[in-house]
């Protein structure tokens, strides 16, 4: 294909389309119409994403996946968007997640539905922008742009304590990203000149910035804190359970399914390659924090009585492993992270859908008040059990592949960390099976007696998720092939 004939590229389509669709959604007053519009828009985005996967080979279709316009020419920042393997995978995850979320929560009615769906689509645009930005200033823009709509979503449509909880979330992430901004500026002043400016914000300029080891050592932490808050890694996680609990469930799905991947993504794209020496130097600290966080979150998850907080803590445990695996500097660990980013997104969204269904029907999220749902809703229970098993990372499920590879990477790095981290798998089995047993098995009580089997829509979305779980459980190769290039880039930076 002649590059001159291309007038729009995939990253542009993926970013601008949800943005425009979101703005349009604000204008549609009727709730039904705006719901259908949001669903159609997200399906079109999914179509674009699938098309981009067909043309994902950057050696052949580079011009379809990369684009750059002048922006702040004399400062050295350009509107550069691009899709590499990891970008393709995460934009695909984002594109898959939104239609699923919209279908799964289609029964839920929102006040001011136009604003709700508009903000959801804007969040999607922000996320797409983060995953496609190849210029660090653009990345920062989208990084914030994804949070602002999420803040409004949680504070307006959330639970009782929503205002405080989401405000905590906002201040945490805002403070983190401002620290990152200083880091960005500092690295910027050490980059090479462009034809128009003394320094540059381009990704390649950042990768080749001339920072001394000493400088790397402290600027590393400015970036790391921002990303650690987003993931979240212990001890920066305290906003998460509150926010997940108080946010409307469909927003929680976005937050936990995709937005936490922003943190992992950012570590892989912007932290490790820019500060490779600092990353090697501080690998023990970061992995140590991650492992502590895994065990800590798992132990707390066992004690949780609220289903939403339960899922939140179990998510912290899983994210911790991913963060640790990045810093093992091994190919197998990084590949595991790539697979797990996608799998975790799928699994946790499934988990939230089930929680949402249970809450909507019974009106409670207390594990102690529920029980015996299996008798009343066997299909729901089957789906839940599959998703729960994926949460424990049992073989045949997608999470097993990723976690196995990550543990292998960690094992190569240090056996003690591995041994401790492995405890979290046992703990995961304890808390997940405990939850399944208490909520779905046993005797039905007054609360759960009225529960009904799920509708066709819901069966459909859960079915799709379960297909993903098994598909990538037995055949993860496509994900590995897709993200090969990113893994190679990171590994060469470590050397």
């Amino acid at each position: 294909m002649d590059p001159k004939n291309i007038w729009i590229t995939f990253p542009e389509l993926l970013t601008w389309f949800p943005l425009i669709a979101g703005v349009v959604a604000f204008i549609i007053r009727e709730e039904k119409k705006v719901k259908s519009w949001a669903l159609i828009a997200s399906l079109i985005t999914l179509g674009i994403s699938v098309a981009s996967l067909v043309y994902s080979d950057n050696t052949k279709y580079f011009y379809l996946n990369n684009v750059s316009y002048f922006w702040l020419k004399y400062v050295g920042s350009n509107l550069t968007l691009g899709l590499d393997g990891m970008g393709h995978m995460l934009t695909a995850l984002t594109a898959v997640a939104f239609p699923i979320i919209f279908i799964a929560t289609s029964k839920t009615s929102f006040k001011n539905a136009n604003a709700y769906y508009g903000l959801m689509l804007l969040t999607q645009a922000g996320l797409m922008g983060v995953f496609t930005a190849m210029d660090v200033l653009i990345f920062y823009f989208f990084w914030e742009l994804a949070v602002i709509p999420a803040y409004f979503l949680c504070s307006r449509w959330g639970g009782e304590r929503r205002i405080q909880a989401t405000f905590k979330f906002f201040v945490y992430t805002f403070a983190g990203s401002l620290l990152m901004l200083i880091g960005i500026m500092y690295v910027y002043t050490h980059t090479y000149p462009t034809p128009y400016a003394e320094h540059s914000f381009a990704m390649n300029a950042f990768y080749s910035a001339t920072l001394s080891v000493k400088e790397q050592n402290w600027v590393f932490w400015l970036f790391f804190v921002a990303f650690a808050i987003k993931m979240p890694v212990f001890p920066f996680h305290t906003w998460q359970p509150d926010t997940y609990e108080q946010a409307p469930t469909s927003t929680t799905m976005v937050l936990s399914g995709i937005m936490v991947k922003m943190g992992i993504f950012a570590v892989i794209r912007w932290l490790v390659p820019v500060f490779p020496q600092a990353a090697v130097r501080f690998d023990n600290i970061v992995i140590g924090l991650s492992v502590v966080g895994m065990i800590y979150a798992s132990l707390i998850a066992i004690k949780q009585d609220d289903l939403k907080r339960f899922v939140a803590y179990s998510s912290i445990a899983h994210i911790g492993l991913m963060c640790a695996a990045i810093f093992t500097q091994s190919s197998i660990g990084l590949q595991g992270v790539m697979i797990q980013m996608f799998s975790h997104g799928i699994n946790i969204i499934g988990m939230w859908i089930v929680v949402d269904l249970v809450e909507k029907q019974t009106g409670t999220r207390k594990i102690s008040e529920l029980g015996g749902i299996a008798h009343k809703a066997p299909v729901l229970t089957i789906f839940l059990v599959v998703i729960a098993l994926a949460n424990i990372a049992l073989p045949l499920t997608n999470a097993f592949v990723g976690e196995f590879m990550m543990f292998s990477g960690l094992f190569k790095f240090n056996i003690i960390y591995t041994a401790v981290a492995l405890l979290s798998i046992i703990l995961a089995a304890v808390y997940t099976l405990n939850m399944v047993q208490k909520v779905f098995y046993g005797e039905a009580n007054a609360v759960t007696n009225t529960i009904q089997e799920i509708s066709l829509n819901q069966k459909l979305v859960l079915g799709v998720l379960v297909v993903f779980i098994f598909l990538f459980g037995v055949f993860p190769q496509p994900l590995l092939d897709l993200t090969k290039d990113t893994v190679m880039t990171i590994l060469t930076r470590f050397k």
Binding site: L72, I163, F170, V171, L179, L181, M185
Partner: protein, 465 residues
């Protein structure tokens, strides 16, 4: 040159108009017409370099694209301010045309202090700015608070002017050539003579007073709170921006070669201003007072231009003044319409007045410094300039932590508007007060803020025209 003479002349005209025209709304239209005239003539001067008046000023005033751009911003913001607040100015008291005349005199002073080339011109400019402001602060004659504020402002202001004069005297005596020209004060790179050092510190103190940098900020909250809200808006935006411009112009041209020696003082000023402004703003219940403290906090950010004193910092300062003025004029214009100035007074505004709430949100986001707004770009330029300077990175870190704190108090208003319900049955604003054109102007301001946030080069390119 155009701006200085035309504003002064139009001010006189406005005064006379008060004697001959009885209609209450006429002065407003006359003022807007005059301001348009000044703005166009200033744009012509920036575009073609030609002035209507050719007066030999003995180089006491120096005009270049940099300060012309700034005057343009000041005039443009004032135009917006007149359009948004014209009706509210009429409501303050009986002497409408005099208020407008005084505002024009302030603008004349603003033009002077952005183009001065000698210390005398600076002094005259500062006085021309201050004296009308003392009057405007006390213009709500029957209000005790307004009177108190005016007296306080006058006493503190004349005190600081006295300090400035003393400083100027020291500099005059200390300079080798005995000259008021700012470029002649320091000759060569020798260590700073003690007389010059004393003069510098005195000027620093008096200018810090004018821009309300801590610890010389104590007048600000009382004066801003006591003055009629429409005039607070003018003081906190255009006047403050101009004072900053003069501050940087003075210290860059007069003491730029000794930057390293006084940079430490600026560091202390910045740290104190950021901390005091932000931490105190957190505890305010009245939005007006909160905005007064926030203006102190924003001054802390603007001081970074003095800290860094490089090209980026100057661009950043101009951008900052534009971004900050636009957002503050917008939020003050909404505040004037509110029946209750406390944060709770904003409860449920989004339901009653969605346009006001949405634009207020954009203004507050811009003041916080969220990307895609002009406020982000200006903070970004400032901090980038400071990082490029290379020293005292901890100060930059302190600044961003303070920006995170500022999110707390700005977002409280957003929370009140969107997430809380109104407690009283009365309306938060008189809907009869809100005309369609007012809403339209607010939307235009908000769009301007977002456009500047995406393309800051619309302003910065003019600096090198």
């Amino acid at each position: 040159m155009n701006a200085i003479i035309l504003t002064a002349a139009w001010g006189v005209l406005m005064m006379l108009c008060g004697a001959f025209i009885k209609s209450k709304s006429a002065p407003k239209y006359l003022a807007i017409a005059g301001l348009l005239l000044v703005l166009i003539s200033n744009c012509l001067e920036l575009g073609t370099g030609a002035s209507f008046f050719s007066i030999d000023v003995k180089d006491m005033i120096r005009v270049n694209s940099f300060n012309l751009t700034f005057i343009n911003i000041a005039l443009g913001c004032t135009l917006l301010y007149f359009l948004l607040n014209g009706r509210d100015i009429e409501k303050v008291g009986e002497h409408v045309s005099e208020y407008f005349a005084l505002l024009f005199f302030v603008l004349c002073g603003v033009a002077l202090i952005s183009t001065f080339n000698t210390l005398l011109m600076l002094f005259i400019g500062i006085e021309i700015v201050s004296i009308p402001l003392y009057v405007l602060t006390g213009s709500d004659k029957r209000n005790l608070k307004s009177n108190e504020a005016a007296l306080k402002y006058f006493l503190m202001g004349s005190f600081s002017t006295g300090i400035m004069l003393l400083g100027i005297a020291f500099l005059y005596g200390g300079s080798e050539t005995g000259s008021f020209y700012i470029s002649n004060i320091i000759s060569g790179n020798d260590p700073m003579p003690p007389m010059i050092a004393v003069g510098l510190v005195l000027l620093l103190i008096s200018m810090s007073f004018k821009v309300s940098a801590a610890p010389f900020h104590f007048w600000t909250p009382d004066v801003y709170d006591g003055a009629p809200t429409v005039f607070t808006s003018f003081m906190a935006t255009i006047v403050k921006a101009a004072a900053f411009f003069a501050f940087v112009r003075l210290f860059e041209n007069a003491f730029g070669s000794m930057h390293a020696q006084w940079q430490k003082l600026i560091v202390i000023l910045i740290a104190a201003t950021l901390l005091i402004g932000n931490l105190t703003a957190v505890f305010q219940q009245s939005v007006k007072r909160m905005l007064a403290y926030s203006s102190i906090a924003q001054a802390g950010f603007m001081l970074f231009s003095l800290f860094a004193l490089n090209g980026m910092a100057k661009e950043g300062l101009v951008l900052y003044t534009a971004a900050y003025s636009l957002a503050s004029i917008g939020i003050f214009a909404i505040l004037v319409k509110m029946n209750d100035y406390t944060i709770d007074g904003f409860n449920g505004l989004a339901k009653q007045q969605p346009v006001l709430a949405l634009t207020a949100t954009i203004f507050l986001l811009s003041l916080t410094g969220i990307p895609l707004t002009a406020g982000f770009q200006s903070k970004f330029y400032m901090l980038l300039a400071a990082v490029e300077n290379g020293q005292h990175i901890w100060l930059v870190i302190l600044a961003v932590l303070c920006a995170a704190i500022s999110a707390y108090y700005y977002f409280r208003v957003i929370q009140a508007m969107y997430f809380k319900d109104s407690t009283s049955s009365a309306e938060s604003v008189n809907s009869s007060d809100i005309s369609l054109s007012f809403k339209l102007l607010l939307v235009i301001t908000a769009v301007l803020i977002i456009v500047l946030g995406m393309f800051p080069n619309f302003i910065t390119d003019w600096l090198y025209f």
